[in-house]
């Protein structure tokens, strides 16, 4: 009994530590999982990254401009179909989008149900509130637009390695130096996450006694300060490494993409779908 309560107390005390470790591990695992999916054989994986970036962007514009719930629903199911043909379990896409949706868009959409003026759709007698038909349509549009957009974006991210997405941004006239900085940010955040993970694990391995809130705060502050110091040192060393290989302020990159006939075909298909969505959704 004593042992049990001691373990319980100890686990409560190390909550912050465990929670942080869990968060870091989950982030690292998700990155690994996305990389594994992008290496699978599937429709989206086989397309040129530029085609994917342009097509997803075009479809997002189509979603934003469409004023028909049916059209939005059709694009959403199309996204699920593309996920299925790209070896992404539809359940994964649905779960990732709809688990996060209520916390963000749901909170915005909820009041719209009641405050948008229009004919009554449903009375909630216990709460004394009325859901209006216009409110319901507005909330449905908001949720469907966001879920479709999020699904399309996830489709791109899950089927394309991050470095390739960045390189493909070049076709949208994003400056090379911006792409390089984005790439380095992702790369070094990943490295610092690993370092943070090691530091938390090292702290955990040496923790035998009680850690109260102030000690927890001290530990987090110390780890944050060390990480900041490491990242500053890293940034100056990376700059030296770039200078050593000829960097003088302007970045030149290779654009290694080659369009295949099937890329052109799919580009026209996606642009066609977008045009149709805009026309039918007017």
């Amino acid at each position: 009994m004593e042992n049990t309560s001691s373990v319980k107390r100890s686990s409560n005390r190390s909550d912050i530590l465990e929670h942080t470790l869990h968060g870091i591990t989950e982030t690292l695992e998700q990155a690994l999982f996305a990389e594994e999916i992008s290496a699978r054989k599937g429709l989206f994986q086989s397309l040129d990254a530029r085609v994917k970036v342009i097509s997803v962007l075009a479809l997002l514009i189509g979603v934003a401009l469409s004023h028909s719930l049916l059209v939005l629903l059709a694009i959403y199911f199309l996204a699920l179909l593309f996920a299925w043909t790209s070896a992404i379990p539809a359940g994964l896409l649905i779960k990732r989008v709809w688990l996060a949706l209520p916390f963000f868009t749901g909170l915005i959409a909820l009041p719209a149900l009641f405050i948008t003026p229009g004919p009554a759709f449903l009375h909630l007698p216990l709460l004394g509130l009325v859901i209006t038909q216009t409110g319901l349509t507005t909330a449905a549009f908001l949720l469907l637009r966001v879920s479709t957009s999020a699904s399309l974006t996830l489709l791109l991210i899950l089927t394309t390695p991050w470095n390739t997405v960045l390189s493909a941004l070049g076709v949208l006239r994003v400056p090379d130096v911006f792409i390089l900085i984005l790439g380095m940010t992702y790369r070094y955040i990943y490295l610092l996450l690993h370092t943070a993970n090691d530091m938390f694990l090292s702290r955990k391995s040496r923790m035998v006694g009680r850690m109260d809130t102030s000690e927890n705060q001290k530990m987090l502050a110390a780890i944050s300060a060390t990480l900041l110091d490491k990242s500053l040192n890293l940034s100056s060393e990376v700059y030296l490494a770039m200078q050593s290989r000829g960097y003088r302020g302007a970045v030149v990159t290779l654009k290694p993409f080659r369009m295949q006939p099937q890329d052109w075909l799919w580009l026209f298909i996606f642009l066609g779908i977008t045009t149709l969505a805009i026309i039918l959704g007017r």
Binding site: N163, G183, A241, S244, R245, L254
Partner: protein, 258 residues
């Protein structure tokens, strides 16, 4: 070999970090073309700082460095023509491969130097293919560097310099974190560069590596000074010198047996 014009001429060079912490104290050193010079020293003796000075990334707080007969100064490296010529001829492999490999993919990494130095795209592609093939990492082409193992990262780092094909290779603790097979492969790689007439300057405290690749050794003391320079065999057999410079130790359990 010693009659050839020095690739680097280091005269009375000192360096202090932020004007307080001494890293190098009045160093004199000449490096000749085709040499495989080992800078041997304990941690914190100033080896890495010297390599950064030779690569024109830091500049001496005292003394002078000449490369290929020209002074390497901040002002000289501001000149595009000199900078390009210098960077094309001298390459540095950092000790920490995570610092060296900053690009989003292996392909971008290997292409970085030749692209920055203005080589035509076709030539860059040819060099990238050739470097990846030479280091047997063609399969890693599209991979993100941070996903690679220590040995793979080291190969990519070397490929990122091989695509530049510099005359002088500066290697900072190249065996750090490598397993025995990768270490052995690295030794072969360095010897190959040396046989092709490249100048290789390696900073290390690894005596085995020094024995394998050195044509000359320069020993740094923990006071940041050069305390010996010369024939590898003579230096590696001078146990008192190595002991004084914290490069070899008499283990207590060995002494007990004696």
């Amino acid at each position: 070999m010693l009659n050839t014009k020095p690739v680097f001429d280091v005269r009375q060079v000192s360096f202090e970090y932020e004007g307080k912490q001494t890293a190098l104290d009045h160093i004199d050193l000449s490096v000749h073309a085709g040499e495989s010079l080992i800078i041997l020293g304990a941690n914190g003796s100033g080896k890495s700082t010297l390599l950064k000075l030779l690569d024109g990334l830091y500049f001496p707080t005292g003394g002078e460095i000449q490369a290929f007969g020209n002074p390497v100064t901040e002002e000289a490296l501001r000149d595009d023509e000199f900078n390009f010529a210098f960077r094309r001829r001298v390459g540095l492999i950092f000790q920490d491969t995570d610092v060296q490999l900053f690009s989003a993919s292996v392909l971008d990494e290997v292409a970085f130097a030749p692209l920055q130095l203005g080589l035509p795209r076709d030539e860059v592609n040819r060099r990238v293919d050739s470097a990846l093939e030479a280091l047997r990492i063609e399969k890693l082409r599209e991979r993100a560097p941070h996903r690679l193992s220590g040995g793979e990262k080291r190969r990519v780092a070397l490929a990122s310099l091989l695509s530049l094909n510099p005359d002088v290779w500066l290697l900072d603790e190249p065996t750090t974190g490598l397993d025995p097979r990768s270490q052995s492969w690295l030794v072969e790689f360095i010897l190959k560069q040396r046989n092709e007439g490249k100048t290789v300057i390696t900073a290390t405290h690894d005596l085995t590596l020094a024995e394998e690749i050195a044509s000359r050794i320069c020993v740094f003391s923990e006071d940041h000074q050069v305390v010996a320079a010369g024939d590898p065999q003579e230096i590696l057999e001078d146990h008192d010198l190595l002991h004084r410079c914290n490069l070899a130790h008499y283990h207590a359990h060995h002494l007990e047996r004696i």
